[in-house]
Amino acid sequence: MARYAYEPFPYEMPPELRGGAMGDAPVAIIGAGPIGLSLAIDLALQGVKSIVLDDNDVVSIGSRAICWAKRTLEIFDRLGVGERMLEKGVTWKVGRLFHGDREVYSFDLLPENGHKYPAFINLQQYYVEQYLAERCRDFPDLIELRFKNEVFGHRDYGDRVVVRVSTSDGPYELQCRYLVACDGSRSPTRQRMGLTFEGHSFEEQFLIADIEMDESPFGSDAAERWFWFEPPFHDGQSSLLHKQPDNIYRIDLQLGPDADVERELSNETVVPRLKRILGDKQFTVDWLSIYKFTCARLERFVHGRVIFCGDSAHVVSPFGARGGNGGIHDVDNLGWKLAAVVKGTADEALLASYDRERGYGSDENILHSSRATSFMTPKSDLERLFRDEVLGLATDHSFARRLINSGRLSVPCSLEASDLQTPSEFALVRPGMPVVDAPLETKNGPRWLVELIGNDFVAVSFGNGDDPELRGVPHIRVHPKGSRLDHTGFVDVTGMALERYGEGLTYLFRPDAHVAAAFRHPGSKAILKARQRAVGQKTLQAAV
């Protein structure tokens, strides 16, 4: 199996340097990582043009983010790359947890039926970025990708931002109404603005390796996740072995705070270390890296006309895979809001709700990632002793298994507390929660509920009833199992949709597929009012 072939993206001399007028786009995005590319696509789906500037010209070096969670895949589905990711990715189900050479327990994820996407898949970040970059090409009039274009300055004039870019052909300037910094954990934009990035750094060092081997280290073809506390093959605290596509395996080894980086990365140290895990099987090392992890965030994600999104706004340790996933949730939240502000259909104040909602989500991700890191890196003899006893009890006591923390995998956060949502106590899917999938049947074949929701506000009624008369809000009805299919209708073939949402209820979804409100008696006035509230306007305007 061939290793990933890095194909550099072409550099083209920017029009500004060919004598053209100063570039002018509603939105400029710094960084063509997974977050910047996703945002450009989300804006394009809303009809908003963006220019993406990246100092580099290849996708992620090394696998980096490999674990993509269900909600993230649903967002990627909306952006148009979800199915491709699912097809290429490894869907794993069985996890095994070891303490020394003893298997403490194994778990089967047994996902709930009736969802398009599994709990998560493993797929290297370079594939994700490649798929996103290719998807960008579907919007030639709305997305302009400029590689080898390094942003080195910007100035916020209050109603627009001028961005200063350097290329091999010289520097130039371009202008935008909003500048979004998706320039990663070391964000030069953040540094240039002198913003503090506060949080907690962990002393522990981790060796991350991508290993290519034909024979599975699991001893079978099963795609599993093996996690060790105090592994027998390595004197550090923990190790992780995970399968990726193309016969590549991810190995994480905790090295301790004092490890000598240069020595650890040398072949003489790494190869014997890996042999102790992999035995005599043939393998080649594809990528090696040593990391220390930090959990930190900006206090505010929106600064005038400059907005931070992804790692530039917040970083977490990777246990729980919340970095890339959390960044995609940022995009999902920001895309429709920024588009509405640019198009003038919402007030600029709506952007403050991105800061509030994703600030909340980011705190949740930092909390979970910090707790996992603490469990994996006990700071004292006593912390370690408690951890050993949890691991010891876990063999026979299921409650103790739930205390073992090798990373709590990314789940969507609820935005219930945000004032964009209209509280609805009776709702089965509470306002603030993202769409819960279900299989539907149409005259033209099966569809998933997640495919019908997003990019615009939509009201969905579950069960029979009279359709509310809505101006400006599309409406869908999901008919109960056994209903006759007409040309436009959706039928709940398995009964799961009505069971998950409640028969007789109508839900209003935001463009990011989060529930904004639910109704027992959907009147057009109430639905429109909830929609106004969800775009940050408290009072119902006369004509919609």
Partner: protein
């Protein structure tokens, strides 16, 4: 939530207090300090799960911590 104030001082062992205390000591009989600390850790985890109520656990942690230093 005044009416649900957690009362950690009320006696809940009744006539079994002396029994429990003796059995706790017996359980530690012959153990080194480290073995005892480990036993206590297991005991805390088992009991915490039985208590289940996070507010009771928080109150107990705070009370125990108050006299720690």
């Amino acid at each position: 939530m005044e009416k649900n104030q957690i009362n950690l001082s009320e006696d809940r062992l009744g006539p079994h207090g002396d029994e429990f205390y003796q059995e706790l000591l017996d359980a530690h009989e012959g153990l080194s300090l480290e073995q005892s600390v480990r036993l206590n850790a297991r005991l805390i985890l088992l009991l915490a799960n039985q208590v289940g109520d996070i507010s009771v656990l928080r109150a107990a942690l705070a009370t125990a911590r108050r006299t720690a230093t």
